[in-house]
């Protein structure tokens, strides 16, 4: 914000600094290079208006944008049974890295969960936040995911999981790898309870996370352009010494190769998930959310501008009546 500092008077500047403004008021679109005012991004659920690029979104913002009326109850999740099981020290001490991530995000680890409504259907939603050590999967995230899924089983509610992760948390060694079978046990409990499990793959979802709960959903949705894959692109390039094809490991590529059901624009996510949950649980979606021309098709990755308002504006309280 150099140019602001240079032209505004000191008094105003101190006022500006006092406010909780992000360091950069202007955010560069990674795709088009266009500079976007952060308020505009925030208002648009962190989708760059012109290019449609889906930026990373904080877990709390994601929940607020997803649930009916932005209303939800957070579910308290357990932490790691042990903080630093290997007493690991890389370039930094692992315990310091955790502390930094907690200060940065205000969360205990990478997974948070909440209960709320979508199109009037009660659901449990979990979000994996890439901001917290790359959304990596370790003991804490594993316990949180298991607890959230078990909570959904106890409450008999469908489970929606927004995943984002760089993979296993290597600072925990094989204990992080063990989260693959551990979380898979929890997915099986959801399935045995007959509850829909909807996975939303967001940018990026890679490594071990893709090799467990992220690929075991009843339905796999993906945000446009998200990087999704098991092996890192660099590793593949080095192994096979070939250039990777255009769009490799992107949402659309996974859809074309049969791993993802639909690529869905963030603005349409509520509507798509709500509709699916409604059909799978055989409960009609509430009238006031139903779109006159709702169509769920594999090409719903473009925002449906005409109907957005009804969906995103505060819905009537009636939606939350049991």
């Amino acid at each position: 914000m150099n140019w602001i500092n240079n032209i505004v008077r000191p008094k105003i500047r101190s006022f500006l600094n006092k406010k909780e403004t992000p360091d950069n008021l202007w955010v560069k679109c990674p795709e088009s290079g266009e500079m976007v005012f952060y308020k505009d991004l925030e208002a648009n659920q962190w989708v760059v208006p012109a290019s449609g690029y889906h930026m990373k979104i904080k877990a709390a913002d994601r929940m607020a944008a997803f649930f009916d009326g932005g209303i939800y109850d957070e579910i308290k999740l357990p932490g790691a049974p042990v903080q630093d099981p290997l007493k690991f020290r890389g370039l930094k001490k692992y315990t310091d890295q955790i502390r930094e991530a907690r200060n940065k995000t205000g969360d205990q680890d990478s997974v948070t969960a909440a209960e709320g409504h979508v199109l009037g259907h009660k659901v449990v939603v979990a979000v994996q936040d890439f901001e917290f050590m790359g959304g990596s999967l370790g003991l804490a995230a594993g316990e949180a995911i298991i607890a959230a899924m078990v909570e959904a089983v106890n409450r008999k509610l469908p489970f929606v999981f927004f995943v984002a992760s760089g993979g296993a948390r290597m600072q925990e060694g094989v204990l992080s790898l063990m989260q693959l079978p551990r979380t898979t046990v929890a997915v099986q409990k959801l399935k045995e309870a007959g509850l829909p499990y909807i996975v939303v793959l967001t940018n990026p979802t890679t490594g071990g996370v893709t090799a467990s709960y992220a690929m075991l959903g009843d339905v796999h949705l993906a945000e446009p352009g998200a990087q999704i894959g098991f092996a890192g692109a660099r590793v593949i390039e080095q192994t096979i010494r070939e250039k990777l094809p255009e769009g490799f490991q992107r949402s659309e590529y996974l859809r074309d190769h049969g791993m993802v059901d639909m690529v869905v624009h963030r603005h349409n996510m509520r509507d798509t998930v709500g509709t699916l949950v409604g059909i799978l649980t055989k409960v009609p979606s509430l009238e006031q959310f139903a779109k006159p021309t709702r169509k769920i098709a594999a090409n719903s990755d473009q925002p449906d501008a005409g109907n957005e308002q009804n969906l995103l504006a505060n819905p009537p309280e009636a939606a939350h009546a049991e």
Binding site: P81, F88, A168, G173, T184, V185, Q249
Partner: protein, 320 residues
């Protein structure tokens, strides 16, 4: 001790072995020199040196032993431990993947289903088996075999030995991640008991896909890790050259993992590693497999499943 390729830390043994060979030649010749006493002395020294080195292998040295080209591979285990070994091919969806061998056999006369990762032992077989790095089809074949075992109420034995799942364009296109996830899921789902033995390298997701078992054992010098020491070092230390440090920091040895309660037991190797006395390691494995089959024989299906799930859910929790 036959002609073996020596690892760098085995140099003292290699030198002694060299001297022994020289003396043996002298002894064989017609000259009237008595070398027997000296030979016996050298042999004892060589054995002591080997025992000494192998009693205090570092995690990085164990990594090298686990990857030793002469280390017994799945085909050796199949030949020594199984009868009527009948490998089956193909995932019934796309193709056959020889990195994963799977099929039916008998162990001590009892029917078993067997899954094993095969690295190959010469250039040709290494290429055939893609160095033990499976593609999605390998895991889907494993799922197919586990399904069959479940249907016919046959226990499953898996032999884990892979650097990891194959990182390639085709593998990604055909859903490597999904294939691994489904295989892990199947391991957890079957109502028949399964045993996994990590015989060499247990490389991350590529290993867990067939190593999610009621009982998980590791050979004494095998390793099991979330990422190879080399790749881990390049990410966490920004220096691939520090693989030795990463091997130690990541706790990848059987001894460390038994302590962390990730595995259920260790199968001791003969002095100098499994590759020096294949018969000995096979006898130990045979005993462990028999023990496993006995332990789980007659256990009802839901108990088998519950046992496995509870075991994995408790990993990490018991460290608190």
């Amino acid at each position: 001790m036959s002609t073996l390729s020596y690892l760098d830390f085995e140099k003292p043994v290699a030198e002694l072995q060299g001297k022994i060979s020289e003396l043996e030649q002298i002894g064989d010749s017609e000259q009237a020199v008595d070398v027997d006493e000296e030979l016996a002395r050298l042999r004892t020294r060589a054995e002591d040196a080997l025992a000494d080195i192998y009693s205090k292998l570092t995690p990085w040295q164990k990594t090298q032993v686990a990857r030793h080209p002469s280390r017994p591979h799945f085909s050796d285990y199949a030949r020594h431990l199984l009868t009527e070994w009948t490998p089956l091919a193909g995932d019934r969806k796309y193709s056959e993947d020889a990195a994963v061998q799977a099929g039916l056999a008998r162990f001590n006369g009892q029917s078993v289903a067997v899954i094993g990762q095969e690295k190959g032992s010469n250039t040709e077989s290494r290429l055939t088996h893609n160095f033990g790095m499976a593609r999605p089809e390998g895991y889907r074949k494993a799922v197919r075999i586990m399904d069959m075992a479940d249907r016919f109420d046959i226990p499953v034995l898996s032999f884990v030995d892979t650097a990891g799942a194959w990182p390639g364009i085709g593998a990604e296109e055909r859903g490597q991640a999904e294939a691994i996830a489904r295989s892990t899921e199947k391991c957890l789902e079957i109502g028949v008991p399964n045993l996994a033995i990590i015989v060499g390298e247990g490389g991350s997701g590529g290993a867990i896909a067939i190593a999610t078992a009621n009982k998980v054992l590791m050979l004494q010098h095998a390793i099991y890790s979330v990422i190879s020491p080399e790749a881990g070092a390049s990410i966490l230390f920004r220096d691939a050259g520090r693989a030795q440090d990463m091997a130690a920091a990541q706790k990848i040895t059987a001894q460390d993992l038994a302590e962390l309660k990730v595995i259920d037991g260790i199968i001791e190797e003969p002095v100098g590693g499994a590759h020096r006395h294949i018969e000995t390691i096979m006898a130990s494995c045979r005993a462990e497999i028999s023990k496993f089959l006995e332990e789980f024989s007659g256990m009802p299906r839901d108990k088998v499943r519950e046992h496995r799930r509870d075991k994995f859910l408790s990993i990490g929790r018991t460290l608190a």
